[in-house]
Assembly symmetry: C2
Homo-oligomer: 140 residues x 2
């Protein structure tokens, strides 16, 4: 499923993946940071549901497939060098993009040399089962 | 200059660098995507001016040191895995974070399988001289 938009993206610079920032389409809040390979990008465009690439699991990560916290993609932007992408999404399910149950993964702010939690969780992630986590990094 | 906040960040996962997203502190618009190593992070915290790490040049990149388009850092956030950072900044100079002269590097939107430019430039980057570019990626 080669597309013109996909072909324009430089996946080689990052060993086959590009960085992706997901934002809430209504508030423009940054929700999370993840990666996509070309297949994930093309699936996201075709289905309008965010599909990332899990570097730790080395496979596609269809966000929300376990938890129901999937993301409907409203708009996609590319940067000047065609090697980073923004997704404007509607965060479905419990409105928690983060595996910790927070709306956003960026719920800690630097204050006096400490990372201080400044936002409450939206949901207790225990409800999704013991294996729940996000897949972009080392976490299960 | 080791600090507690810096020590909490996992720079090893990304071969010594972490991804960084800079946003306008007032509008929360995403301005650009770049990287930091530990030294760049600590300098940014200490000086409150955004300092990145240029992977192409393999050295610190003090944003705006050539063009005057530096960034005053108002707030710093870290993600759930301590391996990605948000900077809320005031973009100084010509209010153009992108080396193309746009406010944001993400000035193209996907429309019908094409990346369409949807924002005008703030400034003609030729004013900064022929060597001007940004340093995060392959560009000069």
């Amino acid at each position: 499923m080669a597309t013109q938009a996909s072909a324009a993206i430089d996946f080689n610079k990052g060993d086959g993946v590009i960085p992706v920032v997901a934002l809430d389409h209504a508030t423009h809040r940054v929700l999370m940071f993840a990666y996509m390979n070309r297949e994930a990008f093309e699936e996201t465009v075709a289905t309008r549901r965010a599909c990332y690439f899990s570097r730790s699991r080395n496979r596609l990560w269809r966000k929300g497939e376990e938890s129901g916290n999937f993301q409907v993609v409203k708009e996609i932007r590319v940067d000047c060098d065609e090697d980073a992408v923004l997704l404007f999404v509607e965060q479905m399910g419990d409105a928690a993009a983060c595996h910790t149950g927070h709306e956003s993964c960026f719920y800690r702010r630097l204050e006096n040399d400490e990372w201080r939690e400044v936002e409450p969780r939206k949901v207790d992630p225990a409800k999704y089962g013991p294996g729940y986590g996000h897949h972009t990094k080392q976490a299960g």
